[in-house]
Every structure is written in structure tokens, then in C-alpha cells.
């Protein structure tokens, strides 16, 4: 059921993409770390000629490439200086003007949203077809889908664990409804009470979180205070009572990338730890 709706949305997402140009792009500038990681994973590193600052910091494969600025303030001049035939980015209010200006200057721009899982898979396929790596992209998507099926099957028979995934403590941001992280939580056997919020990453209140009574808190914030100590301030939280408060690395779970099945496996392990493994 889940996979069928996934396939359907994937189909529509692909159908909505502009017809790809005939020739694979040879000089690509990526303005988003997730897209950069996908291009590297598909074996298109050689076609990348420039990246944003975040990509340059996170991806060792592109560290030597020229960086053209941050997510909010990429330099148009630096991008044009690299003579790209394709610029890839994730839609955002900050980069809307940039896209218009690049297109006005005759540079092809591919805008790939990656909030939902369907969008994430579609972005892998779209990037693959644009850089001449269709086969690799299709194989990647198939692998992700089969990992999804396997995890969903393994968690189907087990009780759902009421889980809140905290992205940031103050202001409090959690994973709400519809994002690929939400999909991963559900697939891995969680019940996400933050589903009541329509946004993918809502800002919420402590009072809501306490009233939601999560049995498991996965804390992906970067605050240096140990999650266990921080959340113990509210001792009624079932997750605190059961000792089910864990830190998860934001870089491994919350960034949409080419290997979401790794994050899925991490979450599945946190939600239903494999028998025999001691609680960390």
C-alpha cells in the first residue's frame, strides 16, 4: 500500500519534471549538500565543477572543488565563473532569485525538492538522467525501495513505538508529517505523534511534547548537553522513565541523501533494538 502510493507519487513527480536535455551535462554546479552527495554516489564526481560551502565541508570527494558560497548567499559571479552547463539546487525562498538570474543568463537550472521520500527518489532519478547515469540512478532507487520493503516487513509484526524525533531543542523543532524522515520513522516501526502537525518540520512546545508522552526520544540536536540529562528535567516522559532517550547524529539521519536506507536501518535499530544487543 505504502509502496504503491510511493510509486504513484514518484510517477507524477517524474512526469512533472521538465524534459531533460539530450546531452548529459558536463559541467555541473551543485548548490546543496544532498544533491552533491547524490551526484558523487552516482559516480558523477568528475562532472562536478563547483559546490556550495556546506557540500565542500561535508563531502571529502569534492573538498578540492571551488566553493561558491552558502545556502543563503551563493555568489552568482563565482557560479558563472565556472562556466557551468547545469546548476542543481533545492527550491528555497533564498535561491528563487538566483534561479531566475541564472536562467536569464542562459544557464540551465534543475530544481529538485527533497522533503518527501518520493521527492528524494525522484531527485536521484532526475540527477541520474541529467548527468548520463540513468542506470546507476535506477539501481540506487531500486535498492532503496527493497531496503524499505525489508524494514517495513520486519517491523510490521512488532508493536509501534511512540517516537518523537527532535531536530533542535531551543527553539523546539521536531519531525512532523510528510518528510522523508517521517516516512522512515513509520516504516521502521514508530508511531509519530507529531503527525498532528501538517508541516514536515514544525516548531512546537515542550508542553505539547510532554503531553504527547513519547516512549522514545531520538535527539538529533547538536547541543553539547547529553540528551539523557536534558530530557530528564521532565521526569514524567515515558521515554525518560524507560531510559529510551538517545542521541542520533543529524548528519546520518536528517539530511536527505543518496543512501536513506542507512538512516532507515539506524532508526529501525533505535526503535526495535536487535535482540542480544545491550542497551547503549
Amino acid at each position: 500500500m505504502l509502496l504503491r502510493s510511493l510509486a504513484a507519487s514518484l510517477f507524477f513527480a517524474l512526469a512533472a519534471l521538465p524534459a531533460a536535455s539530450e546531452l548529459p551535462a558536463r559541467r555541473v554546479v551543485s548548490l546543496n549538500p544532498s544533491l552533491t552527495a547524490t551526484l558523487v554516489a552516482l559516480g558523477a564526481s568528475a562532472q562536478l565543477v563547483g559546490v556550495d560551502d556546506y557540500s565542500a565541508r561535508q563531502q571529502s570527494a569534492v573538498r578540492e572543488l571551488p566553493a561558491v558560497g552558502g545556502l543563503f548567499n551563493p555568489s552568482l559571479e563565482a557560479i558563472l565563473g565556472l562556466a557551468p552547463d547545469l546548476v542543481v539546487l533545492v527550491p528555497s525562498a533564498q535561491q528563487r532569485d538566483l534561479r531566475a538570474r541564472l536562467e536569464a543568463l542562459g544557464v540551465e537550472v534543475l530544481e529538485l525538492p527533497n522533503i518527501t521520500l518520493a521527492e528524494l527518489l525522484a531527485s536521484i532519478e532526475a540527477l541520474g538522467s541529467r548527468v548520463g547515469r540513468e542506470a546507476a540512478a535506477r539501481a540506487r532507487v531500486r535498492e532503496i525501495e527493497s531496503a524499505w520493503r525489508a524494514v517495513a516487513a520486519a517491523s510490521a509484526a512488532r508493536p509501534r513505538v511512540r517516537t518523537v524525533l527532535v531536530l533542535q531543542r531551543d527553539p523546539l523543532y521536531v519531525v512532523g508529517r510528510g518528510s522523508f524522515i517521517d516516512s522512515m520513522l513509520i516504516t521502521a516501526g514508530a508511531e509519530n505523534p507529531a503527525n498532528v502537525f501538517a508541516e514536515p518540520y514544525p516548531r512546537t512546545s515542550l508542553e505539547w511534547l510532554i503531553a504527547a508522552a513519547p516512549e522514545l526520544i531520538l535527539d538529533a540536536s547538536e547541543d553539547s548537553e547529553e540528551p539523557r540529562d536534558y530530557w530528564a528535567r521532565w521526569p514524567s516522559l515515558p521515554a525518560v522513565v524507560k531510559g529510551q532517550v538517545h542521541r542520533i547524529a543529524a548528519s546520518e539521519v536528517t539530511l536527505p541523501g543518496p543512501f536513506p536506507e542507512r538512516a532507515l536501518a539506524l532508526l529501525a535499530e533505535a526503535i526495535h533494538p536487535a535482540p542480544g544487543r545491550s542497551d547503549p
Binding site: P171, S205, I210, D223, S224, E225
Partner: protein, 338 residues
Amino acid sequence: MKVLTARRAAGVLALLALAVAGSVIVGLAAGPSSLSPREVVSALLAPETPGAAADIVLRVRLPRVLLSLLVGASLAVSGVLFQALLRNPLADPFVLGVSGGAALGGIAVLSLGSAVGLSHAAVAPAAFAGALATTLLLGLVSGSRASPTSLLLTGVVFNAFASAGIVFLASLAGLSEGAGVFLWLIGSLSNVRADVTGWVALFLFAGLACALPLARSLNLMTLGEEPAQQLGVDVLRVQRVLLVAASLMVGAAVSVAGLVGFVGLIIPHLLRLLIGPDHRLLVPSAALAGGAFLLLCDTAARSLLGGRELPVGALTSLAGGPVFLWLLRRHQQRIFAP
């Protein structure tokens, strides 16, 4: 001008104290989760009983109720003091740049702290250090005898400097820190910790202890420095003591709640319209009214949208602005007589 009698002062203060008590009850009773009044009362009466109600009432709502009272009181009292000392109706707690210094310190930790392993708990101390440094700097720059105008100008320049620094820091920060910086600039009590309540209270009460005995001198100083001097007021000493006291109050309040706007501007004016300009009554009234006002705004901020939070600083201005303009229209002629 109404004459201040002990009886009238007692009446006004009793009324405001009732308003504070009422808003404390509303603040404890209201929230996004549907706790019944009975659950709230039993959580308060039996704090040792474990359960979500105890966590929500005692560890989420109560610290916020206390802190919004203290922050609101500090902002309103310091607003009264700055307006009187600078003899400028537009003065507010942020006018001297102390808030800018606090913001610079806090936001430095917010945006870059995680890179050097500083926890979020370091934001408030860093902000307060920023406020202290700014107060010292103001003292140094303005020298032994500064006119209100030169103090105001120093504040304007320092605030501009601080906002440039904030923009610089925010542009270095990542996406998630950016949201924190934004909220801090509007002012929010969303995730306050109970352990900061003590020092906001300390500076508020120290400030009140300085301001109340000097309230008569403040009344005379609104006539101008020279007439006040001739009437026996040690103008320089009053200025110094109250500027430092008010700056420390603002620094403590801003360091835990961010730049909650408007409370320190409109509560003093509102009270002058309603109870007259005598600082002996105005100062304690501002403490009570500022606290109650911020508490009600914060309760609305966390209750209006279900589980979502609004920044309280946005609500204070949204709620306070129209009320203030309406009052201003009714009492047009009186507002500019300090």
C-alpha cells in the same frame, strides 16, 4: 495632576496586585494540552506526584509564569527609569544599547557556540556578559558628566554597531541556528530554564531597591537638571545609580528572554496616562503591570495555536500597539508631559 495620597497609592497597587494574581491563575491554567483545572490544582498541591500534569504545570508552565512576571517587570521599570533620566518619551529599555550588547553576546553563542562545544545553556550568561560590557563601555564613553542627548546618541550608535555584528554572526550560522537567532531577536520565553529565574529576580529587586528611594528625586529631575539641583537633588549621583541599575535589569531580562519589545515603552506611558506621573507610584506599578502584561502575552503565545509556539515578542507589539494608540488618542495632550 492628581495628588498622590497613601490611600490612592494603596488602592492602585492593590488593584495591580490583583491583576497579577489573576494573570498567574490564567497562566497556570491555560496551555496547549487540555489539563483540567482539577489536574492543575492537584499538581500544584501535591508536587511530588509523578505524571505528565506535574511536569507540565510545575516544570513548563510555572517557570514561564515566574520568568515572564520578572522579565516584564524589569523591562517596564527600566523603561520608566530611562524615560525619566533621559527626559525623552521615546526612550525604552533598549535605547542605550545595553540590549544590543546582550544580543551580540547571546547570538555569538547561539550561532557559533555549537562549533566550539558550548551548550545552549551558555547563551544567557554570554548575553549578560555582553550587557555588562556595554554598560561599562557606556560609562567610559560618556565620562563623568553626560547629557541625555549624548547618552542617547551613544546608544543609537552602539545599537547600530551591535545589529551589524548580529547580521555578520547570523550569516555565518547554519540553517537551524538561524531560526534561533531570529527568535531571540523577537523575544521568546519558549524554553526558559528555571535556574535563570533567580538572577533576573536579583537584578529586578536590586533595581527596585535603588529606584524606590530615589523616586522623589526623579520627580524633581523631570523639571530639568538645574531646577532639580537647586531643589537639593544630587543629580549626578541619581543619574549614575539609576542608569546602572536599569542597565543591569535590562541586561538580565534580555539575556534570558531576548529582545521582547514594547513592554518597556508602552507600560510606562500607559500607566502615566492612567495613574499620573509620580514616580513613587509609577515605579512599583510598572513592575506589577509589566509583569502581568508579559505573562498574559506569553500565555497567549503558547496557547493560541495548539502545540505550536508564537514568539511572545511579536504578541506584545501586536497586542500593545493598538491599545496604546487608542489611549494616546484619548489623552493626546498629556502623553508628552513626562
